[in-house]
């Protein structure tokens, strides 16, 4: 069965239907559907790897002074649902829709 690694996916360019660059793959989103089964539900695409590590919605809170800076650095971040991925090619992930229609948040809600 065909396999790919997360390390291989992360860093690939993400382009939308019209060929515009959305960003690079920052992370892979999975959901536990059954014990031991973790299904890929989507990708996180963005431009800043450093800011991405501060993980909104996760357990990592940015220190107050940096919160605004990090929010600004992560303004390009988008969530690509797996169904919206048209093809995974060498170095590129092609998305079937336009960049403007992509979800903003990977976890479905505004971060605190």
């Amino acid at each position: 069965m065909p396999t790919i690694t997360v390390g291989d996916l992360v860093g690939r360019r993400v382009v939308d239907r019209s060929g515009a660059v959305v960003g690079t793959v920052q992370d892979v989103v999975v959901r536990r559907t059954a014990p031991g089964i973790y299904e890929v539900t989507g990708l996180v695409a963005g431009r800043s790897a450093l800011a991405g590590h501060w993980g909104y919605g996760g357990s990592l809170r940015p220190p107050t002074p940096l919160r605004g800076v990090l929010r600004w650095m992560r303004r390009h971040e988008r969530h690509v649902r797996w169904e919206q991925v048209a093809a995974v090619e060498e170095g590129v992930v092609r998305v079937a829709v336009d960049a403007a229609t992509l979800d903003r948040w990977w976890h479905g809600r505004e971060p605190d």
Binding site: M1, P2, T3, I4, T5, V6, G7, D8, L9, V10, G11, Q26, D27, V28, V29, V30, R31, R32, T33, G36, I37, Y38, E39, V40, T41, G42, V44, H53, G55, G58, W82, E83, G91, W106, H107, G108
Partner: protein, 138 residues
Amino acid sequence: MTVPDDDARPEPMRLGFTALDRQIYDADGRSVGKVDDIELSWDGTAARPVVTALLTGGAALGPRIAGRPGRLWAALLRRLRPDAPEPVRLPIGGVAAFRPAVRLSSPAPAEVWAVEDWLRDHVIGRVPGAGRADDNGR
């Protein structure tokens, strides 16, 4: 020591954030290494890939550090030397929990300990006192 099984919740989680680069302990509590990469596979007709294994070891970490050129290089090497070291593969079925660190439900496969055993037998273990932990003298 029981590990909280936060992953029982069906909420989405970011693999890079929660699983990648985490410390792996086996069932005996020994340090196995870090999650150097995660393998995803398409199973038959299912549209969405699933996580099939955790990869650890230098062969898995190398391509991640070097980025895309590193992966191309590793692929080239594999083609030239078919018996090149493969990363250690830990099937997802053997993972008991992800947070706060990855815990396996069984002892780690023997290949993980290759370098450790060699060093123990040939270098460190030869020095007197290698087998004794520090007595605290309190």
